[in-house]
């Protein structure tokens, strides 16, 4: 039986939660995440400076990467072999994540080598992924996190699917391999969860899945894969001039505004828990219940 060949796209992003509030300044950053000096493609100083915070996998991408591993495990006992590939667009910071994926059993790992800042350039990202899939012609199922950071509009899965002419489902929470050309997909829609059987090839945008964390390889796993090759591809190899594409899609960060979600807290006083509960009920809960 033919194998199902899964390719998971992931992005290594700055850990925005590690940014100090004082560092959320528009116009400080120099462009690419890896180093301020090397970026600049979309107009240096048009970004928040993020190079001082660690790089992490986006949480939705992390889900997608773990889901693919579990899909293989679930399918392994049956008759359908599953092959796993992973691809990321970025600089050297991507390499250690690719090595981790190799240690976890991903057979093909690829870095599209660029220091350019693609944060606000979903069409460029989508073109790179689509061209890679077309050129290599060895992907049946393409999985991506549905969005990869606070700057991301969640459009990349749709744009890739459009370029490839493949069907696309987003907000995916579960995938099961049924056969070499069919998967069963659970995805969140407006009024609940829909389960559908999809014929491959297709694109899946992973959403808020229960499986949210990527497992961790042991030092022995890592040692076993030391020296395993990482495929490196340039934009030019895919027929894409990344800098020129970015110039066409240039966007400038104009302004930033802090959205305050703090709510005032009130300490409920009283001699005993019973008295406090009564005060809480009288002052807040009672009127809320009455409104229902």
């Amino acid at each position: 039986m033919n194998a199902v060949r899964i390719l998971v796209c992931f992005k290594v992003t700055p850990d925005y939660e590690a940014l100090r509030e004082a560092d959320w300044v528009a116009g400080e950053g120099g462009g690419a995440h890896g180093s301020g000096a090397a970026g600049g493609g979309t107009g240096a100083a048009s970004r928040v400076e993020t190079r001082y915070v660690p790089r992490i996998l986006d949480c939705f991408d992390e889900s997608a990467l773990e889901m693919a591993l579990r899909m293989r495990e679930a399918a392994a006992g049956g008759t359908v072999p599953v092959e796993l590939g992973a691809i990321s667009i970025g600089g050297k910071e991507v390499e250690r994540h690719l090595k981790t994926l190799q240690a976890l059993g991903y057979e093909r790992v690829t870095r599209v080598d660029t220091d350019a800042d693609l944060d606000f350039a979903p069409t460029v990202t989508a073109s790179i992924i689509a061209r890679y899939v077309e050129n290599t012609n060895n992907t049946d199922l393409l999985m991506l996190g549905w969005r990869s950071g606070p700057h991301d509009g969640g459009t990349v899965p749709f744009l890739v699917a459009e370029e490839l002419g493949w069907p696309c489902l987003t907000q995916v929470t579960e995938v099961v391999v049924l056969s070499s050309d069919r998967v069963r997909v659970a995805h969140v829609v407006d009024d609940g969860v829909l389960r559908v059987t999809v014929r491959l090839p297709c694109v899946l945008g992973v959403g808020n899945a229960v499986v949210a964390r990527l497992r961790v390889p042991t030092l022995t796993d890592r040692l076993a894969q030391r020296g395993a090759p990482v495929e490196r591809v340039q934009g030019g190899d895919l027929g894409i001039d990344v800098a020129a594409e970015l110039a066409r899609e240039a966007s400038v960060l104009a302004d930033l505004e802090v959205i305050r979600r703090d709510r005032p807290g009130v300490i409920v006083g009283g001699e005993s828990p019973r008295e406090k509960a009564q005060t809480l009920f009288d002052s807040c809960l009672k009127s809320m219940i009455e409104k229902l």
Binding site: E17, R51, Y52, V53, R96, A212, L219, S272
Partner: protein
């Protein structure tokens, strides 16, 4: 509920009032452990004897009442405040123990900006005290990573240390006086003076007792001017840990006192610094603080020492200040960690020891080599030095493993204890100390006799003298 449990609860209710005695089963189970058994807790498995009740004390008199009652009836008492213990100190090793919780004793009693000292009850979270004294332009100088969670009682009881220790010292350097209650209900107060020579320094019977001799109800700590505007952050990559230790030593021996002096090995450093440090390098970090002139002189002195070591390369200081701003652990990080562990089965553990300059690198290298060789399923093993002294430094081993092929209740025996054994054996072999700042708890008691050697006589004597009936936190510090 057995009659005995019922009688204990009744007795406590009589002393504290019914509302202050908790007997909810889920809470009792969670109160039978601390983070040493967090893997069991995350999976809802509880292997330790379940306490009879959690007693919420609101005053020194109530603490005295509960201890007197327990002492009279031979009931084991586990003192508790912030619940961040990592070494089993909060485990209720004896059936029908009472957990005596002082988190409700949370009043700051005085901030004396003239005499530079603050007094508070045991249940005041350090973060609360720190925020309050900062309103006066002051700081406690105490900054453990658990600052948002840990309370002053527990911090004193474990001989805790903060990230700024090289300048401000450990908690033992900060405490000027305290109030503590002994098992027979005796309330003792040690007055707040700059120094005295009136016999042994009895503060040290109380500081670090981990709830095995007495219950700490009140502490007075020193205050310092808070001058963050003068802070200078320095960071360097360094090829080997051996050179890193050498630089730390030279900084200390030449009389410089940066508040932070840290050395990360490549594995541990990768968790924090992979975005600016090439793979395989160690990282040295310093923060110079204090009055502007002192901070500047300290930074210049350190820079001159580092310049003597060509393998050290400076990194931009903003990397260090950004990292430093995100170090502490609040409830958000604890919640995220639980979710990570539940989903991946991968858990992070630490063991901190100390040694003099002559042996610390040997302890580091040998323990790490053995952990990697002897323990299965390790996903990361590394460490850092974070507290330096004129004669040596600490080593904080930091390691992760996947828990596989065993139940939650076997995690400690399959992984954590064997790793602790390796680290303690290697540390003792070179003459270091098996615990630097988390406390012995119950986790490292198998090695306590070797740690103390002939001075174990003094430790046993203290226990006999102050807790003759052995009701205080059985199995902690002194093996059961």
């Amino acid at each position: 509920m057995s009659l005995r449990r019922a009688t204990i609860v009744e007795g406590l209710q009589h002393i504290l009032g019914a509302d202050s005695v908790v007997t909810d089963e889920r809470i009792l189970k969670e109160s039978s452990i601390d983070r040493f058994r967090m893997f069991e807790d995350i999976h809802g498995v509880y292997t330790q004897p379940i306490p009879a009740a959690v007693a919420m004390a609101r005053s020194t008199e109530q603490v005295a009442g509960v201890l007197r009652f327990a002492n009279e009836h031979g009931i084991n008492v586990v003192a508790r405040t912030g619940r961040t213990a990592t070494e089993g100190g909060l485990e209720t090793a004896v059936p029908d123990s009472v957990v005596l919780d002082g988190s409700g004793m949370n009043q700051i009693l005085a901030i004396d900006a003239y005499n530079m000292q603050a007094t508070c009850q045991c249940g005041v979270p350090l973060q609360v005290l720190e925020d309050r004294v900062r309103e006066h332009g002051l700081t406690t100088g105490h900054s453990p990573q658990s600052k948002p969670l840990a309370h002053m009682g527990g911090l004193t009881a474990t001989r805790s240390i903060g990230q700024l220790s090289t300048l401000y010292g450990g908690i033992e350097d900060m405490i000027v006086g305290l109030e503590a209650v002994f098992p027979d209900g005796t309330v003792t107060r040690i007055k707040n003076v700059p120094r005295r020579a009136v016999g042994p320094d009895i503060r040290h019977v109380i500081i670090g007792n981990e709830g095995t001799l007495c219950y700490i109800t009140e502490v007075t700590v020193k205050l310092f001017p808070y001058l963050p505007e003068n802070n200078i952050f320095l960071g360097y990559t360094v090829d080997t840990m051996k050179t890193g230790f050498e630089v730390l030593r030279e900084v200390m021996v030449n009389g410089y006192r940066p508040s932070v002096a840290r050395l990360y090995d490549p594995a541990d450093g990768a968790y924090h610094f992979a975005h600016f440090v090439p793979e395989g390098l160690s990282v040295l970090i310093f923060v110079a603080e204090g009055p502007a002139g002192i901070a500047k002189a300290t930074a210049e002195g350190i820079e001159a020492i580092v310049a003597q070591h060509p393998e050290c390369r400076q990194v931009e200081s903003r990397y260090i200040s950004t990292w430093f701003a995100d170090l502490n652990w609040g409830p958000d990080k604890i919640a995220r960690e639980r979710e990570d562990i539940l989903q991946t089965g991968n858990i992070n553990r630490t063991t901190e020891v100390s040694g003099d300059w002559g042996c610390i690198n040997d302890i580091y290298e040998n323990a790490l080599r053995r952990i990697i060789e002897e323990i299965p399923d390790i996903t990361m093993a590394g460490g850092h030095s974070s507290h330096s002294y004129i004669n040596g430094t600490n080593m904080y081993f930091n390691y992760f493993y996947n828990v596989v092929d065993c139940g939650p209740e076997e995690e400690v025996t399959k992984y954590h204890t064997p790793i602790n054994r390796i680290i303690c054996e290697e540390t003792l072999r070179y003459g270091g100390a098996i615990v630097h700042h988390h406390g012995l708890g119950k986790a490292r008691t198998p090695w306590v006799r070797d740690e103390y050697g002939s001075s174990y006589y003094i430790l046993e004597g203290l226990k006999r003298a102050f807790d003759p009936k052995g009701i205080m936190n059985k199995g902690t510090i002194i093996p059961a």
